[in-house]
């Protein structure tokens, strides 16, 4: 199912905001955030003795005057952290046009926030094929994204190119697959300086309508289950959904990741102000 991505909505939601970056130092391209590595920023990191080949501009002449030794200022590097947006392209993300649109919008919104902060976002989307896009091609890739994956997100992500370390990762998915949350969360957090998990759920996922019999078909595996959707059955579903989300929240806490849940029935700007505010800081 292909729905045109409305960039006007995305830009309005991202106006005046920037992506909240992790507090710890990052490694990455030259930018505005202090990195853990040494570099050329104005912030002093350390002193060390001059060695041949060092940049003479970094020699601290005051120290030379005091000690008679050639000392070099070692400055902290300034990096522009990488932002990797991982989008779940499995079929469950497209059980309704609203859910698919919201996934695209959230991914585009994160990219817009990153750009506003001077970061360079990269989008990796799974599905029947895994695609990676950066820079201006992100827009076209998100617009053309087909939610046609038939395998769980964690399995599909194995086919993706290796994630780069030290980057900020934002994962957009419904997280409705049976794989154990903790190993997958650890895998996503491994090497990343920050991880945000954004769960996008349809209104029918959050509050399914009952009262009649239905032939329930799994959007990905095609499995069928016939059930009479009595209030009791719906209540049981909601209990299991709650327990499932709790598992993911616990897994996110363990890997120091943030967890956000967005309902597809709300517009992106509303979500940006409320459910997704943890991703945002006012510029």
């Amino acid at each position: 199912m292909s729905v045109r991505l409305d960039h006007g909505i995305v830009e309005r939601a991202a106006a005046g905001c920037a992506l909240r970056l992790p507090r710890g130092p990052h490694r990455g391209r030259l930018g505005e955030v202090r990195a853990s590595s040494v570099g050329s920023s104005l912030e002093l990191h350390d002193f060390r003795q001059y060695q041949p080949g060092d940049d003479l501009r970094q020699i601290d002449w005051n120290a030379v005057a005091r000690t008679g030794e050639l000392y070099l200022r070692v400055r902290q590097d300034e990096v522009s952290p990488r932002v990797e947006v991982l989008v779940d392209g499995s079929a469950s993300l497209a059980i309704s046009p609203e859910k698919a649109a919201r996934v695209r919008e959230v991914a585009a919104w994160v990219c817009a926030l990153a750009r506003r902060g001077g970061l360079d976002p990269v989008v990796i989307a799974t599905g029947s094929t895994v695609r990676k896009a950066g820079g201006p091609s992100i827009r076209a890739m998100l617009e053309a994204l087909e939610f046609d994956g038939r395998e769980p997100f964690d399995a599909a992500l194995r086919r993706a190119p290796p994630l780069r370390p030290c980057g900020l990762r934002v994962v957009v998915s419904d997280f409705l697959f049976e794989s154990p949350p903790e190993p997958f969360a650890e895998r996503l957090a491994r090497g990343a300086s920050g991880l945000s998990l954004v769960q996008v759920l349809d209104a029918e996922d959050l509050d399914p309508s009952g009262g009649a019999g239905a032939r329930l078909t799994d959007s990905e595996s095609g499995e069928v289950l016939e059930r009479i959707l009595t209030p009791h059955v719906v209540d049981q579903y909601l209990e299991r959904l709650k327990a499932h989300v709790s598992l993911w929240q616990g897994a996110a806490r363990r890997v120091h990741a943030s967890w956000s849940q967005a309902s597809a029935e709300f517009q992106l700007d509303a979500l940006a102000r409320k459910e997704l505010h943890e991703l945002v800081e006012v510029a």
Partner: protein
Amino acid sequence: MTLGAPLGLLALAAIPALIAAYFLRRRQPPRTVSALFLWRTPDQRAEAGPRLNRFSRESSLALEILAVLFATLFLTDVRCGQAASRQHVVIVVDGSLSMNARVEGTTAAERVKTEIARIARDENAGVLTLIETGVKPTLLAGPQQERDRALSALEKWSPSQPAHDLSPALTLARELSGSSEHRIYFLTDGPIAEAVAVPPQLEGRSVGKQASNLAFLSAQRRDEDGRAQVTVRVGNFSDVPVTAEVRFTAADDAPQKQDVKLQPSATAVLRVGFKTQQPITVTLPDDALVEDGHLTLLPSPLADVTVSLLEGVDPAAQQALRRFLSVAPGVKLAPEALLTFGPPKSTAHVQLGATAPLKSFVGPFFAQKGNPLLDDVQLGGVVWTAGVNPPGRVLMSAGAVVLMSEEDDGTLHVNLDVSRSNVQRTVAWPVLLSNVVRQSRLATPGFPRKHLMLGEETPLVTTAGSTWELIAPDGQTRPVMGSGVLSLPPLPASGQWKLEKDGEPFDALVVLPLDPRESDLRTRGAWEVVPAQPQAFASFATARPLPWWPLLVVLMLVLLDFWLTAAPRRKEASS
């Protein structure tokens, strides 16, 4: 192949319903969900994929339809081969006492047994329903009992009923024959009365034979002061004069015998006295019907009634009461008595006296007819002075004044001022008091009467809080329901019946096998009736045992269905 219950075919209606349900289940609205695993209950998590589901469901439908078909076979009572030819024959036999008459070496009852065996054989009867006529019809065998068992039950049959109406038994036979179109067989020992409406399905035959008979028609025993007075009436049911010797035997006194000469159809009364308190046996010479010539009479002394007079009774009334009690038989004065006399508003059973203002009556007196307390009470020439009306149901009145009344608890009010009346000097006084004593005696636990005729209802008095049981002459025990003054249905067998209270012997009575209509064997003989419409003699048996194999197949199919539908789950669970 036959169908014992064609209505069972209605079960086939379940097949369209089953198929409809199957397709309705398949046609449930589809709904795509993000995570099916959240919709599964733990036992459903292992459900197979659509390909395997489809396979198992179609097989399941086929098995379920097969199960319905075999269940239909069971409900329709399908029978094949030999089982299909099982016939059901309903036979009614006359249960009257005269069936025991032995003529030419065999009794009518024995000939009936032979005849039933022949009918069962000729009609290829697989099952029989045997009904005995009587005051209340009885099932000797059945409904639809296996032939051998029914014939075996018939061997124990001993008819002992008084003359009775045949209609209830014939109605019951029509109901048990399963259809109003099948013939019913009736075996008796003589022509049935023309007043009896013979149903058109009835095929009847008499196996009885004409015979002469000498029989007791009635018997009484009266015990007073250790002496027993026996009175019997003997009848000659033959066409020639007969002289017979009647023997009277008591265990502790010398036997006595009296010769009696009777003209045809004549009767004679014999009386003897014994000094005994043991049972007395009275016998006639053996003839065609032995039962009505042998009697055993139990001692039946008049039960003592204890009486007491409470304080406060008017002296004149007290004197009149004492005068009666001193001469009344079987009455004793005692402090704690069964019957108490007292003034009005006392706790006495009989409250005698009148409260002012008083008024005297010389008649007319209006008495409740049929009340045993007023039996033979003649009030001609009586001056009755009464006072304020007593409570209770009015038994006797004069004008607007109630002279006698009875309350629900049995308290009797006699509104009589003896000092200003002359009732106590008339014959009505001892008669009235005798009735009161008699009614009190009848409330004594046990059998009020020790001898009953066949077919008579059985009076019995029991008390609450105890277990009362009747022991039949053949030793069978029957519980007695209820307490107080009871009237049991006629006891079904002649002979001595015992009454036990809490497992201990309490009383006994004898049902005398006496019924003049049964003793007269001259009316017995050949008789036959053919059914008004030629119909099948027997219906097909519908009774158990039903063929069990369709149920077994249903069970197997259900198990197979379960296995088929459960297999995919097991496979998924193991993977």
